[in-house]
């Protein structure tokens, strides 16, 4: 299985939301729904403070509980990779995947009656392009590539910098990494 990963540098992310807007237009996401979002976490007391911005989305887990628990097979991993997609035609909108996702990364409900989510822009990835959010980020804080390739940007960054994933304790093996 090929593993695609996103590596996001919280040291340079400014929380501008460009990733959110670029995703919406690239993927024609309906009004009121978003496939990605930005979290701001501030700790400390004035004037001893720290703020972390994180652009969040589906973690395209290697062990994706949403895929395991989907009763119709609509949730699946694309083309022998970790990229989790929903086949709209198979999805009945039962929301089992929503309960199964530790990251609350699925959209309820596309107006056409299915559960929608981040696709890592697989339609761009197969053309050799970065996902829309990565390619527009004005701080260049987002990186995308194959974890299996030791020469990829993402592999190199994870070797050279400290990082974390969100809720690794779930055992889902998330593939969005945050450099800290």
């Amino acid at each position: 299985m090929r593993t695609y990963a996103m590596v996001i540098d919280t040291r340079t992310c400014i929380g501008c939301g460009d990733c959110v807007v670029a995703c919406k237009s690239e993927n024609k996401v309906p009004v009121g729904l978003n496939r990605d979002w930005v979290v701001e976490a501030t700790s400390g007391r004035y004037p001893n403070l720290r703020t972390e911005f994180r652009s969040e989305r589906c973690n395209h887990c290697s062990h994706a509980t949403c895929v395991l628990l989907c009763p119709t097979g609509a949730s699946h991993q694309w083309n022998d990779s970790n990229i989790v997609l929903v086949d709209a035609d198979k999805c009945t909108g039962c929301k089992a995947c929503i309960a199964a996702c530790p990251y609350d990364a699925r959209l309820v409900m596309h107006p056409e009656g299915y559960i929608d989510k981040c696709t890592f822009c697989h339609h761009r990835v197969e053309k050799g392009l970065d996902p829309a959010c990565v390619s527009t980020c004005p701080t260049h804080c987002m990186h995308f590539g194959l974890l299996d390739d030791p020469g990829s940007d993402v592999s190199k960054l994870l070797l050279s910098r400290n990082y974390k994933t969100l809720m690794p304790e779930t055992g889902n093996k998330p593939n969005v990494f945050y450099l800290v």
């Binding site: 040291r11 340079t12 400014i14 929380g15 501008c16 939301g17 460009d18 959110v20 807007v21 670029a22 919406k24 237009s25 690239e26 993927n27 024609k28 009004v31 009121g32 501030t42 400390g44 007391r45 004035y46 004037p47 403070l49 720290r50 703020t51 911005f53 699946h76 694309w78 083309n79 086949d87 709209a88 035609d89 198979k90 339609h123 197969e126 053309k127 829309a132 390619s135 527009t136 980020c137 004005p138 701080t139 260049h140 804080c141």
Partner: protein, 723 residues
């Protein structure tokens, strides 16, 4: 494997069973349809990034950055990515409107373009005959303003101001021009990607999303540059800094003087640079002696040790050490002096004209389309409109409005192009109404039914930047380049481009000779042909680079003449001295908040450009309203919780709209912060109408800068009231 092959292969495993079950074809993916691409220059803010507008099967799809563009480096910002919202906004103006009085009440009625333009031309002629042709002013903040500037100059009127001067960049441009003989310009000539140390003073890059600024700042951070941020608020930039200096609001000049004191007294300044290029060092040295870090501590609240340490950090990286001039610099009324202090500090670091400091800009030598030059001004309008500010190089918006009030007013006709004055110029609504009542003609050119349209006699609906040509972007940059804005879509409804309106008015005023072309494509093609390109080529590539003809930095030991009276960098300003102002920066302690009041700090958010994007449906969704940031200690005192709605009342009793509270440690306990541009009361802007609060309405204590004539807006204080 290409996409088609993939569909074939995966279709066997995944898509086929579903097709069998539901009998439908696989859903198309974005970009599967027929995609058309055309070049644009973004108009959502004034950084003017070049991008590509994509349509799929005839439907607007997305806008992406042009990879060859030096302004955007192929990446548009949040607002630029949301640019299609400007086109899609259902509340846009649709046809020309004229004010009519019925039953004692004014309202607007749709009229034809013929009727609207005839009316304007008739009124302009009447003003010309009655008062003189020099009495029609233009207030503009947008690319298409150039067409109206040309029209009015051809008519004989040169009265022109843009709020980006007196409400924004003015003081820094004046300050740098006094010191170096030229301003910072736009895009700002900061060479941040090569800086080893960057100092931001109240400049919240990252929230203020000027694209190239954000990209070069983060590039510097990626390369390990030191960042020092001075801000009473824990801004996004403060959070990325090695040193955050949470200064007491309004005391920046005290800090700047103390930094100079350290650099000079510890012998850390660039002696060779100062000796070679500057004048007035001895006066400066003597001037800063009293301003030790210990003295500054009492003013700024910043530890003397921290002031010394940061000064030494700057010096250790000089000349690749840049004290950023800021952009919105109209704060306390002594803003030119603060700008001067920043300019002088940069001179001590030797950063002006040096790598990692400030580069030398260059643009393309682009000939103008062959047309007669408009006649020179027959009268000195600045002597009539803004005589108190002889050193102000540009028009002052607030002074032009003032000059339109009353029966003896100088300005009799006014064009307002793409600037929503009621939310732009502080405390102006009453004066604007009086001006509207006095003016014989008030024309507003707008894309949306913003507040300013309510003051107009005639409203001309412009199409958005995605539906029109404008002048080629030829901005001074590190590498000269041209960029084309071309229409991606047909203008919606009856909207028209600005160039069309200006030409149609010129025809009615007998000024056709100044617009001797059929349409603007002809102008652009002619200009492009002169520099080895063509409209056809630019339609394909969008951006064309040209080689530099001059070096980007001063060369080692080079002798240079600066465009100042002395020909040198003026640490001591001869022009200020002659005009009776402080020739060296002087610190004036700021006003203290009255009892129970908080400092009102305002700023930008990455999702919006002032108030002009809050009704853009895409950006509205990202940030529908502004919050007021309140420190948890202050919130507890008032029993206010996160998400509550409150109102703000300023020191003069002006009460704001309802605004939602955001309780956060990121603002000082004695201050509140809000994002500018909300609290619209224009009913036609249906998304944003009545949402959030307007900071401009709370800025009633306007501190006019005696040198630049700009409107200082940060000497206002608010109390917190129940909603």
């Amino acid at each position: 494997m290409n996409r088609r092959e993939f569909i074939k292969i995966s279709g066997l495993g995944v898509a086929t069973p579903s097709m069998l079950l539901s009998g439908c074809a696989p859903r198309p993916l974005p970009g599967d349809g027929k995609v058309a691409v055309s070049p644009t220059v973004c108009d959502i803010c004034f950084w003017k990034c070049a991008g590509m507008v994509h349509s799929e099967d005839g439907e607007p799809w997305k806008i992406t950055g042009n990879p060859d563009d030096p302004h955007s480096m192929g990446r548009l910002c949040t607002r630029g990515s949301g640019g299609l919202g400007a086109y899609e906004d259902r509340d846009r103006l649709k046809q020309p409107l004229m004010r009519v009085g019925r039953n004692g009440k004014d309202s607007f009625e749709p009229v034809s373009w013929e009727e609207a333009l005839d009316f304007i031309a008739t009124r302009m002629r009447a003003i010309g005959e009655r008062h003189g042709r020099d009495r029609v002013a233009l207030l503009s903040h947008g690319s298409g303003g150039k067409h109206f500037e040309r029209l009015l100059k051809a008519y004989g009127s040169h009265v022109y101001a843009h709020p980006s001067y007196a409400q924004c960049r003015g003081p820094r441009e004046v300050a740098f021009a006094l010191t170096y003989g030229e301003g910072v310009g736009s895009p700002d000539r900061t060479d941040m990607q090569h800086s080893r140390c960057i100092v931001l003073i109240g400049s919240h890059i990252g929230e203020n999303l000027h694209n190239g600024q954000v990209q070069t700042l983060t590039q510097a951070l990626d390369q390990g540059a030191s960042l020092i941020t001075v801000d009473p608020r824990f801004s996004v930039a403060a959070g990325k800094s090695d040193h955050w200096l949470p200064i007491r609001p309004g005391t920046d000049i005290a800090l700047l003087l103390a930094w100079m004191n350290v650099l000079i007294n510890e012998d850390l300044y660039d002696k060779d640079y100062i000796q070679r290029y500057a004048t007035g060092f001895e006066q400066l040295r003597d001037h800063v002696q009293p301003f030790s870090p210990e003295w500054a501590y009492l003013e700024t609240g910043l530890e003397p040790g921290l002031i010394r340490e940061t000064a030494r950090t700057m010096a250790s990286h000089a000349p690749a050490s840049m004290v950023h001039p800021g952009r919105h610099t109209t704060w306390y009324g002594d803003d030119t002096q603060r700008g001067r202090a920043i300019a002088i500090l940069n001179a001590l670091l030797g950063s002006w004209g040096r790598k990692g400091g400030f580069y030398i800009q260059e643009k393309v030598d682009l000939p103008a389309y062959p047309a007669p030059k408009p006649p020179k001004a027959k009268s000195d309008w600045k002597a009539r409109v803004q005589a108190d500010f002889p050193l102000a190089p540009s028009g002052l918006s607030q002074a032009v409005i003032e000059a339109a009030i009353g029966p003896d007013a100088y300005v009799k006709g006014l064009f307002v192009y793409a600037t929503n004055l009621p939310l732009t110029v502080p405390n102006i609504r009453d004066r604007l109404q009086q001006a509207a009542d006095s003016l014989e003609l008030l024309v507003v050119v707008e894309t949306q039914p913003a507040e300013i349209t309510g003051y107009a006699d005639v409203i001309l609906p412009e199409c958005t930047y995605l539906e029109r040509y404008d002048d080629l972007r030829n901005a001074p940059e590190r590498v000269p380049s041209l960029a084309l804005r071309s229409p991606a879509f047909e203008p919606r409804d009856q909207t028209k481009p600005g160039w069309w309106m200006a030409k149609a008015l010129a025809q009615r005023l007998g000024l056709e000779e100044y617009f001797p072309w059929k349409d603007y494509a002809e102008v652009l093609d002619w200009q492009l042909q002169q520099v080895g390109s063509s409209l056809e080529e630019m339609q394909r590539i969008g951006v064309k680079m040209y080689p530099r003809k001059t070096p980007m930095y001063f060369s080692e030991g080079e002798e240079r003449r600066f465009k100042t009276p002395s020909g040198r960098i003026e640490l001591y300003s001869s022009l200020l001295s002659e005009a009776g102002y402080d020739p060296l920066p002087r610190y004036t302690p700021p006003q203290e908040p009255p009892a129970d009041h908080y400092y009102l700090i305002y700023g930008r958010a990455p999702a919006h450009t002032f108030g002009r994007t809050t009704n853009n449906p895409v950006l509205f969704e990202l940030m529908p309203e502004n919050n007021v940031w309140i420190n948890p200690r202050a919130a507890a005192e008032h029993g206010i919780s996160n998400g509550d709605y409150i109102r703000l009342r300023n020191q003069d009793g002006v009460t704001s709209n309802r605004i939602r509270v955001r309780v956060t440690e990121r603002v000082a306990p004695n201050a509140v912060f809000m994002v500018h541009g909300f609290g619209h009361d224009a009913k036609g802007m249906r998304l944003t109408h009545g949402v959030g609060a307007d900071d401009a309405a709370l800025i009633t204590n306007v501190k006019i800068d005696p040198i630049a004539g700009s409107t200082g807006m940060r000497a206002n204080f608010v109390r917190l009231l129940e909603a």
